[in-house]
Subunit: 350 residues, 2 copies
């Protein structure tokens, strides 16, 4: 078999504002790979099937000298994010062709992962990839969404920090994290106020059980919170003025779970208007990234959450786009909130 | 005996910036009280001995319609704050003349507390005052400072939220709270960075054991934190730019104990520059007011802290001003950080 095209999505230019497909990122078809004969040196050859596109990716499209919680992408090199791939060939003991792997994958069609001495458990982890098995009732894509990083973020952040009381306000309630947080909060018996940016998302949030669902583009958040609050929990995926409003309408001792602040990713973070409310209302504000909580809660996620995803008791939506060349468009859509459900790019079928 | 002058300090005008003695507050000598014959109606007559002047009082010198965590003072009426008084006469069962009481006292020389049906334990609590006994090795003033609200704030806030690691940064480290926090942090084995606004306070903080003590008026806080940090704990009594700087030089998972933000009390709170760091660094920011923690930790304070105050192992400073007519000046001095140690007004000797 002749060498195959090995298309890639490269980081091409640092965006000043929203990332521009074809400029910030470029789809490159200049490389090929002889998948049958390429040397593996003890590693494995992976065909990339699915790639996750998440809001945080915007933060990695920056100049390398700016420090942040994750390293910047390298100009001229492929992006990478959570993904699912299938092993085409393997020289790594215990990993067979046909095995599926989950982890940080390159945004390209085929990739070779070198064998690592440091693999935590031979046959299980290679270069931070995990061998993954699929429940027959769940698509692979679910392992990038409700059963993956966003789903674990929702449950583990809630378990760790919510100390649930009466009223929760959940921003981006139709997103891959927020949609699950709505359902968790309802299971915990809370009144749930949820916001999103389209009427379709508002409808979805109501289906998920939100007591009050509103479109923040057409309805003033302060008007809603004045009527339906005060709030005991704010799950923040937005930041900016929504965070200020949540502080204004928070009860004493309210808990703020700072999962993200997408309002600041493209045009810079807006200052917090009145930090004096933090001690005035005895607010507890918890920033968190899943990585630090995952190990602690992984067993509980497997035993308590996975069965409800498999049975369909927990609902989620996915927004799957076909084609590696669409990565730049999906990144932009996620930043603008145009996706409905977990954004995933399908690179290839098996 | 003829009626005695019963001087008072009245809230006279809402300040726009710093509180102005003689304008924001006025010393009024128009009233008298016949302390021997005045009718008590089952209550007690108290001679006010000591009044505490704390940073938070500024927040009560505001328009009544502005909501905050404590009610505004009433224009034309006396201020009130924590104080120590002695009972001159009593019609309340179990309370004798000569008994000392602690609690919120009016800023006037004599006051009558009515008997309350709701007194939680007759002979112990009257109108939220507590009968208090003094350890012979401690002055009464200590019960307004290191053994009182500021001391309890320091210990209880630390116990509840610090989860101490390696490096703590304590603002207003020479204040009635900060000076104790420095000592707690050192006892817990941390490296302590502490700031204050005069050279004398810097000297005091070094005596308390601070590893790095600096004058924020002459030394740039970012230069210090860049060299001596990053920090794991920030004890905040200042807010504003110091809070922004602490966030910039915080480790991942650092804890911010928001005890107060005096930089915002007189000219308004400055926005928090980069709230995106909250999730980016997984910061945990805890606002707290002593009232909510006091009950939980009071036994530990009595058994663990009081013996060290009595033995002299724990150090503290007091700044006692004589004369009820000086209340306005002391309030202003506290807002400007001109006091050295716990600010107290001595209204009378016994």
């Amino acid at each position: 078999m002749a060498p195959l095209q090995n298309a890639r999505v490269l980081f091409n230019a640092i965006p000043a504002d929203y990332p521009i497909p074809g400029e910030t990122t470029v789809y490159d078809t200049s490389q090929t790979m002889d998948v049958e004969n390429v040397s593996l040196n003890g590693g494995i050859l992976i065909k990339v099937l699915l790639l996750s596109v998440d809001p945080y990716l915007r933060g990695r499209l920056r100049a390398a000298e700016i420090e942040s919680y994750m390293p910047a992408f390298t100009l001229g090199q492929p992006l990478h994010s959570h993904g699912i791939g299938v092993v085409l060939r393997s020289e790594f003991p215990g990993v067979e062709a046909g095995t599926h792997v989950f982890g940080i994958l390159l945004h390209q069609e085929y990739m070779i992962v070198a064998s690592l001495e440091s693999a935590s458990a031979p046959g299980v982890a290679i270069a931070n990839l995990e061998v993954i098995e699929r429940n027959p009732r769940l698509d692979w894509s679910v392992y990038l969404g409700a059963a993956g990083m966003p789903g674990q973020t929702a449950f583990m952040g809630w378990w760790e920090y919510s100390e649930a009381k009466k009223v929760a306000f959940i921003s981006t309630g139709a997103g891959s994290v927020g949609a699950l947080v709505i359902q968790i909060a309802k299971q915990d018996g809370l009144k749930v106020i949820a916001s999103a940016g389209t009427e379709e998302k508002v409808k979805f949030m109501k289906e998920l059980g939100a007591d009050v669902a509103f479109n923040y583009k057409s309805t003033d958040v302060r008007t809603v919170l004045a009527k339906e609050g005060p709030i005991d929990i704010f799950w923040d995926n937005v930041g900016g003025d929504t965070l200020d409003a949540a502080m204004e309408f928070a009860n004493n001792h309210a808990r703020f779970i700072e999962c993200g602040q997408i309002s600041g990713y493209n045009h810079g973070f807006q200052p917090m208007k009145n930090p004096g409310l933090i001690f005035g209302k005895c607010l507890h504000i918890h920033g968190f990234l899943l990585g630090y909580l995952r190990h602690k809660h992984l067993t509980a996620f497997s035993t308590e959450v996975m069965p409800k995803l498999i049975s369909g008791e927990l609902k989620y939506r996915e927004d799957i786009t076909r084609g590696l060349d669409k990565v730049g468009d999906v990144i932009l859509a996620v930043q603008k909130g145009e996706n409905t459900g977990k954004a995933i790019v399908r690179v290839a079928d098996e």
